[in-house]
Assembly symmetry: C2
Homo-oligomer: 322 residues x 2
């Protein structure tokens, strides 16, 4: 069982317009789906046929819309009802713009109360307790912390998982990332900006080494089209996906996390897990929805990808022990 946690989920709205012309009124084509990084991870895992559940606090009318979409799409979920109103994100996509860049509006989301946080911790504990009967469980913590929680919130959840012998993937940034490291997550997955932001070091390898020193058991750094690099105590590898023109990078990092969770659950060797993550991530860029990948391209990319080892010599090829 792979349990994902999305503490600040959203109703993700996409407005598709020919061109975004500031100062004018547009009549967009509208799509909506449940969003948030952990939700994307569970959506991907469910599509892969993996046992998974997305834990998320929901409130308000948009919270109901999120729950309904998850039910309609059969995405396994465990909702903690909250008093605040779930946020929206609006992404404006242009079909006739030369740069093709998306414009985003990310609402900040509700504050969690102390009581709601306690309920979330208890729910995750209960799910992990059940899940430990399944030897291949993983906890995935994704996204920024909502208002009202201490930076150490993820460290608390990592400790809960650790108590059940369940390893954790932590995909967040800033103080929440730094505070989580002391609880020794199995994998952290910063992108290049997040690595620099968390450590102040512009060299990704040095920055990753710093995160390892502070407690991460492995660092998988994502660099968009340049692929994924795993830095571990046993060595470093890079998997570079095929070049994709255009596409939608939203959710690409979450797809990588989904594959890493599968690798961690199955004790897959690092080069294979990394190739899988890069392939699934690239196959997600080919679709216009987060959490959805091009299944044919995924298999093709996976068969074509061969990660290469880095100077720091490999002393083993298995993921960190559970």
């Amino acid at each position: 069982m792979i349990v994902t946690v999305t503490l600040n989920p959203a109703l993700d709205i996409t407005y598709t317009v020919p061109r975004l012309n500031p100062g004018t009124t547009h009549r967009p084509r509208v799509t909506a789906q449940a969003g948030g990084k952990g939700v994307n991870v569970t959506r991907t895992l469910h599509a892969l046929g993996r046992e998974t559940v997305a834990v998320l606090p929901l409130g308000g009318f948009d919270g109901e819309a999120v729950r309904t979409e998850l039910e309609t799409a059969s995405v396994p979920h465990h909702v903690i009802p909250i008093s605040g109103a779930t946020r929206r994100t609006v992404t404006v996509v242009q079909t006739q713009s030369p740069d093709g860049l998306a414009t985003g509006f990310n609402e900040s989301g509700p504050e969690l109360t102390v009581g709601e946080w306690a309920e979330i911790c208890a729910a995750i504990g209960a799910l992990l307790e059940t899940a430990t009967q399944d030897a291949s469980s993983v906890l995935v913590l994704s996204g920024k912390l909502p208002r009202g929680l201490a930076d150490s919130a993820y460290a608390e959840l990592i400790a809960v998982a650790d108590g059940f012998g369940v390893p954790t993937i932590l995909d967040t940034e800033g103080p929440a990332l730094l505070a989580g490291l002391g609880a020794r997550p199995a994998i952290v997955k910063p992108n290049a900006d997040e690595l620099l932001d968390a450590t102040g070091l512009s060299d990704p390898a040095q920055a990753a080494a710093e995160l390892l020193k502070r407690g991460a058991r492995a660092v998988v750094a994502s660099s968009g089209p340049d692929g994924l690099t795993a830095h571990t105590a046993d060595g470093s590898w890079t998997a570079r996906p095929p070049r994709i023109d255009g596409g939608n990078p939203t959710g690409a990092g979450d797809a990588a996390v989904a594959a890493l969770a599968v690798g961690l659950a199955g004790g897959t060797a690092w080069p294979d897990a990394l190739a899988d993550a890069a392939a699934l991530s690239a196959a997600t860029v080919l679709t216009d929805r987060a959490g959805v990948f091009d299944a044919e391209a995924y298999q093709r990319f996976k068969s074509e990808l061969t990660p290469y080892s880095h100077p720091s010599p490999s002393r083993g090829t298995t993921p960190p022990s559970r």
Copy 2:
């Protein structure tokens, strides 16, 4: 009783950002309120202490959000539940932009079924039947028609009102405006663009004369900061509000309609009704929310405004007979 009808209402979201930078992600300040032109009219009338009710079809989660906001704000409303999902509009307002222009995204809204349309007609009939005990009733029909309705939909409602001896103000555009004229609305309120669009005539006076010829009993043409001009069988008048720098024109036309409905209900002389409409409209521009006006400015503008008569000599100063 002034009954307003909003066939395609919306949850109006305002995103306030320092600047809109296409291709980047923003963290907006968010406000939401029930919207749609008739809702704005009822909100204004309710603030003026007038007896009013907003009739509107609502469905889906955003429909529930609209209903909740109306209840919270104590705006009198009569909801017809529908199977489709009520739309949103998103307006992006910039606080640090030199032009200060807003960027809009107007979702198109749900289709109404034949059965839902019949329910709406019946509800309006029942409200007007009750309202005829009140000699000063008016029906206000505002906004574009939703998908699924014939262009003649407003003409049907005008005929229903006519059956109860209740005059109608029609504030719409295009084919729905033209089709409504045959049912002889007491007032139509096109803006300059809508006049041109409906008649193909670029001279507003000629265009207004054309609408009178086709059945409107009076045409009140709005020209933004240039004010309002009433064209009637009895003469023509213009009321020009004070110049306002900045401000938010959203809902200004709806405020004018609210004042015209009050004038029509009370048998107010045209110059007075027009001055009231121009003053209330300008006082609404001073606030950042549709349906909300600056009460102090409203009184001041009203005392300062003196409409002037046009060449076609006045043969009377009362609004069209009921």
